[in-house]
């Protein structure tokens, strides 16, 4: 076999193994919330109800993807000294656009989430991914990285949302799941389940995140520190 022949590097496929890893890694091995410990604040605030958690996760994913793409396209012309401000302006503009669009086309949802949508700006995942990934990579991998991290954030939010809404309010996505007759109240003293009011408060959400991290680390050997 001739060794002089220089093989042309094959063009990397859109979903090559490396690119697929950009999506799957943040779901577990480098999850933004439980491993990178980013975006904890909003994970505690918006997970009282599954619906809020879902729309928040979708909005964050959209902003992460768009922010990553824009910054990746601009990565060669952004002056290094003001790059953080530039990221901030881009992310803030995207969040305003998302907020305004929700208000114009899905008014009901935006009414429920108005404060939280504004808070996407403060979500560390977005700035963190731009700074750590988009500024050094091409647009397509940046899209995948944004998508992966958005989904990784979404998984944690949805898990917390399901647990908190189910045990805190007996509902899922606003629909009664635990029958009213099971739930103890003044009017229904025969109910055997007392709604856990503690679980809908933010401190309990932090404990649930802790439990999530514990279970994740126990199952995923890569995360066990020596």
């Amino acid at each position: 076999m001739s060794t002089t022949e220089v093989k042309k590097a094959p063009k990397e496929g859109l979903f090559s193994k490396k690119n697929r890893k950009l999506i799957t890694d943040p779901l577990n091995d480098s999850n933004p919330v439980t491993v990178q410990v980013l975006g904890i604040c909003s994970a505690l605030a918006v997970t009282v109800q599954v619906k809020n958690a879902f729309v928040m996760a979708a909005s964050v994913t959209a902003v992460t993807i768009l922010g990553n793409v824009l910054m990746s396209l601009m990565r060669n012309i952004v002056p290094n000294r003001i790059r953080i401000i530039v990221q901030l302006v881009v992310v803030a503009a995207l969040v305003i656009i998302v907020d305004q669009t929700l208000k114009a086309f899905v008014y009901d949802v935006s009414k429920q989430l108005s404060v939280f949508v504004g808070l996407i700006i403060t979500n560390c995942i977005i700035m963190g991914r731009i700074e750590a990934f988009a500024l050094g990579n091409k647009p397509w991998p940046s899209v995948l990285d944004g998508l992966g991290n958005g989904l990784g954030y979404g998984i944690v939010l949805m898990t917390l949302g399901v647990v908190r809404e189910l045990f805190g309010s007996g509902k899922l996505w606003g629909a009664q799941v635990l029958p009213e007759s099971w739930i103890y109240s003044v009017n229904n003293p025969d109910g055997w389940y007392v709604l856990n009011n503690f679980i809908i408060l933010p401190p309990m959400a932090l404990m649930l995140v802790g439990l999530y991290i514990w279970i994740q680390r126990a199952r995923n050997t890569k995360l066990i520190e020596s």
Binding site: I82, A93, I97, Y107
Partner: protein
């Protein structure tokens, strides 16, 4: 050009601000008509909800035109303002009044109180907007009474940023559903209002249960109802007096 020079940095920052600013202005202007329509329809939807008429955002306008017959605007003393001074359609003028900004931005004696006269199944109802403060920001709502100007027919509430799952529960059927059948006045005809009390307190026809964990929001609803409804009660009293007088 040197990417690290001061000139490049300043020019870059300037261009970026202009581009982003222009983009945001364009988006805001393009979406504004949609947003304004949503806000108006949302208001109509809430007024209808106080009449126990369920509708979605799109159907709100037609139903509103069908049920709302007339609007009267009261001053802070509970006297009707001459419709001729309102300029144009009183219903539109009444819709333009925002109970929350009246409360937040105006002195008590300058506030205006719109009253919607509605008809459902050929019965007359009055819908009263109310506005006040919850825990984090404004809360507002609509309370409807039957033709006797005393029995509550329904109520709907909304909020800007109360805590989901806690204070925000004032918008749920559980809370709003307690209002129908409650009375504004006691047996002698004196105004009592509807009080929001601690959950579990024995109920009278003047009280509803507050939200567990949403104490401040519940207190805000209580304060808002008493303050706003007292103005309407003055008008109702003068109306029922004039009815007895003409009889």
């Amino acid at each position: 050009m040197n990417k690290d020079s001061n000139a490049y940095t300043i020019i870059f920052a300037f261009v970026m601000c202009v581009v982003v600013g222009t983009a945001l202005v364009l988006v805001a202007q393009l979406l504004k008509p949609f947003q304004d329509a949503n806000i108006l329809n949302d208001k109509k939807q809430n007024i209808l909800a106080a009449l126990q008429i369920k509708t979605d955002l799109k159907g709100a306008e037609a139903k509103f035109n069908e049920h709302v017959k007339e609007a009267i605007i009261l001053n802070a003393k509970g006297e009707a303002i001459d419709p001729a001074t309102l300029g144009g359609d009183p219903i539109k003028a009444a819709l333009d009044i925002n109970a929350l900004t009246e409360f937040k931005d105006k002195k008590p004696e300058e506030r205006k109180y719109p009253l919607f006269v509605c008809e459902k199944e050929s019965k007359t109802y009055f819908v009263m907007p109310v506005g006040g403060l919850g825990l984090w920001a404004g809360i507002w709502g609509y309370v409807s009474v039957e033709a006797d100007m005393n029995t509550v027919a329904g109520a709907s509430f909304d909020h800007k940023s109360e805590t989901p799952g806690l204070g925000a529960e004032i918008t749920t059927d559980f809370f709003e559903g307690q209002f129908p059948g409650k009375k504004l006045n006691d047996e002698t005809g004196n105004f009592v209002s509807i009080r929001v009390v601690k959950p579990g307190t024995p109920q009278t026809e003047h009280t509803v249960d507050g939200i567990s964990g949403g104490t401040f929001t519940s207190k805000g609803v209580d304060e808002m109802l008493t303050r706003c409804l007292s103005v309407y009660s003055v008008y109702f009293k003068s109306m029922s007096n004039s009815v007895t007088a003409t009889n």
